[in-house]
């Protein structure tokens, strides 16, 4: 018995993040993610094909209706590729945030009956969204292969990785914050889709961020970190300029970090009474 670990249960301390515990539970993170993916496409006829189809269909719709409006701003990259590359980054963000909030509620009975670090739920939602992202990304690479890409293609691994990190942090910030809110007030379950829809139009997914009014552009660039995420993702692939000054880049990242910390601490605080309240 002496080699056994000691657990000490006391009233919760306010400022622990529980990261070490997450490492201990890495198997469970894996299995939650795996279950999420399995459940998502069970009972659908074409199954995983939906992952591929969703962004393509969306891209086709946007391309059909909006290409004339926005095309002229985008010079080298074909508009459909411009939209598709934005959409897959956007989907990583929106599906991760949405799933995280829904999973807190659908897993309520597990939360009430078994202990595990609750952070696993938003985390596994993000990880399962990653699977979709990578599949869609491979499709993007296929698209590029069919185009005469040498005109606009450039691949920057550093940009690519940082764009994924930034989009993940955005998704976690909103996912954690709303998961915490929804435990207390179910209303936020219905607020989230609207917020995400609004952010969609405030992010350069279907248009290029190039607004005449400098103040609006400035605010958007600073307070919506998804602008940075999507732009970086695109710049990592195409010969597209990054519409950020160095100061904007730093401030935007600091604002993102503060969003993330607010989300994380709100979630940790809710975690304390989540089993009693959900």
């Amino acid at each position: 018995m002496s080699q056994n670990k000691e657990f000490i249960i006391t009233p919760r301390s306010k400022f622990s993040l529980g990261i070490r515990e997450l490492v201990e539970y890495k198997d469970l993170i894996y299995i939650f993610t795996w279950r999420e993916i399995k459940i998502k496409y069970k009972q659908t006829i074409i199954g995983v094909l939906w992952v591929v189809l969703q962004p393509i269909l969306m891209m086709l719709i946007i391309n059909a209706f909006l290409s004339n409006v926005f095309k002229k701003e985008i010079t080298q990259v074909p508009y459909y590729l411009y939209v598709y590359s934005g959409l897959i980054g956007w989907n990583l963000f929106s599906s991760s945030a949405n799933t995280s909030v829904n999973n807190i509620l659908t897993n309520a009975n597990i939360i009430k009956k078994i202990y595990f670090p609750r952070l696993i739920i938003p985390l596994s939602s993000l990880l399962s969204a990653f699977v979709d992202f990578f599949i869609s990304f491979i499709v993007l690479l296929l698209f590029i292969l069919f185009e005469n890409a040498s005109l606009f293609l450039q691949f920057n691994v550093l940009y690519w990785i940082s764009s994924i990190i930034i989009i993940s942090l955005c998704a976690l910030s909103i996912g954690l914050y709303f998961s915490a809110l929804v435990v207390k007030y179910r209303d936020f379950r219905y607020v989230l889709p609207f917020l995400i829809q609004l952010l969609f139009f405030l992010s350069p997914v279907i248009y290029r961020i190039h607004i005449e009014h400098p103040l609006i552009q400035h605010l958007l660039v600073l307070f919506n970190p998804m602008v940075l995420g999507i732009e970086l993702l695109r710049t990592s692939l195409f010969n597209e300029p990054l519409h950020f000054t160095f100061t904007q880049l730093i401030v935007s990242m600091l604002i993102l970090l503060s969003y993330f910390l607010i989300g994380l601490f709100t979630f940790r605080k809710t975690e304390e009474y989540i089993a009693d309240k959900i």
Binding site: F7, P11, L28, D187
Partner: protein
């Protein structure tokens, strides 16, 4: 040797919201703040201590029963021990992994196959993938679902789901097992198998088990010691017999009679209402809760009736093991034409025959309903309790030389038997 569980002055505080919804809606809160802006700063919530000053130590290999009435804090204690909810005060040291079986089958998903569910369920209960892989065959074998293991769970019968769920739980390797009423599932045969497995876990594998059940028979069978919780308090670990008898005697004295006499005006609102349930001695006509086997138990129910419909008073008797022993009604053959048409207070005596019930503790639910309208006017659960004891004086010892008890047998009537010498 160090105790494997040290619980030191644990307390758990809940806030009672004076708000009937299970969750808050933002609208309600906003409306409340607009109506009464000060309520932002003052809390209207009442505090309630579900547990207070609970302390005990458990040594490795012990199995401890946790007993107490509903709402005494049993589930809260288990939830704190399994870290689902943190305590408000106090400190617990656990020297080993805890696996909680607060409900079997938690996290089962109908769309996933049996195999996938075993992996997921095992993982949330604290097994890692290697462990599950190693035990997979044993789990499936114990549950007896080999043929369906790759079928989605939604095609399983509920019995199969329960068996699979219990099987996963039974093969956990944690040093401390926390078990809440799991044995109340499945058919009789599987229950026996579960019970056997639990005994195996405690007695042979030497693991520590905390066991909550309302079934005193099972508690007695599995545990030597027990904790009796009463309104969030406990005296600590006691011998299981002592704890169980304390549990019953507390309840018996608390339930001498249910006294619900209301004034006339209040009564007018009800169509029928039970006012009082008590147990009386037939000869002495006094209140009593402990009867000898040869005595008649009289269950006296007083009730108010103000209805034109025929009403029926009935009771359900069940024992410590939770076995429903008998029901009784006052309905007779001339039921529809007879009595109870006048508004007023009635009294019905039910006479439980003597030499009929086995030695045990019995609980009574009483209800008034209408067999015509299928309406239930009033129910009192656990309205009264009594015990049947053996009178060992010679005259009444009809069990003769049999000294063994059969607590899981509901009735032990005095049977007429005739024996004659043949050859």
């Amino acid at each position: 040797m160090q105790p494997i569980i040290e619980v030191h002055k644990i307390g758990k505080k809940f806030k009672i919201h004076h708000n009937k919804q299970p969750y808050l809606s933002l609208r309600d809160n906003i409306v409340q703040y607009i109506k009464n802006p000060l309520s932002l700063f003052q809390s209207s919530d009442e505090e309630f201590w579900a547990l207070k000053d609970v302390s005990f130590n458990v040594m490795p290999g012990e199995s401890i029963g946790i007993i107490g009435k509903n709402g005494a804090g049993k589930s809260t204690l288990l939830k704190i021990l399994s870290r689902i909810t943190p305590p408000s005060e106090g400190r617990i040291v656990l020297r080993g992994r805890v696996a909680s079986l607060l409900e079997v089958g938690t996290g089962f998903h109908p769309e996933l196959t049996g195999r996938e569910n075993v992996y997921f369920n095992g993982a949330i209960l604290g097994m890692n993938r290697q462990e599950i892989k190693k035990k997979f065959d044993a789990i499936v074998d114990f549950a007896g679902v080999e043929r369906f293991i790759d079928t989605p769970l939604k095609h399983y019968s509920s019995g199969m789901q329960l068996r699979l769920a219990f099987a996963v739980a039974a093969f956990l390797e944690a040093e401390i097992l926390v078990v809440d009423e799991v044995l109340a599932v499945g058919d009789a045969e599987f229950q026996k198998k579960c019970l056997g497995k639990m005994e195996d876990v405690t007695k042979n594998e030497g693991r520590t088990v905390l066991f909550v059940s309302h079934n005193m028979g099972v508690i007695k069978q599995l545990c030597r010691n027990a904790i009796l919780l009463e309104k969030g308090n406990t005296k600590g670990i006691e011998n299981v017999e002592t704890a169980i008898s304390a549990y019953f005697s507390n309840n018996l004295s608390a339930n001498k009679k249910i006294d619900r006499i209301l004034d006339q005006e209040a009564l007018e609102k009800y169509e029928a209402k039970i006012l009082e349930v008590e147990l009386v001695d037939k000869n002495l006509l006094c209140h009593k809760t402990s009867f000898y086997k040869h005595e008649e138990v009289v269950i006296r129910v007083r009730y108010w009736s103000n209805t034109q419909h025929p009403i029926m008073v009935n009771f359900l008797l069940f024992n410590e093991e939770g076995i429903k022993v008998m029901i009784g009604t006052d309905a007779s053959s001339d039921f529809y034409s007879s009595q109870k048409k006048m508004k007023g207070i009635y009294q019905t005596d039910f006479i439980v025959p003597p030499n009929f019930l086995n030695n045990n503790n019995y609980f009574i639910h009483v209800a008034i309903d209408s067999p015509v309208h299928h309406a239930c006017y009033d129910v009192i659960m656990n309205a009264a309790m009594f015990s049947i004891n053996e009178d060992n004086s010679k005259d009444y010892a009809h069990r003769g030389l049999l000294t063994k008890n059969y607590p899981d047998v509901a009735t032990w009537p005095l049977i007429n038997s005739y024996t004659k010498f043949l050859e």
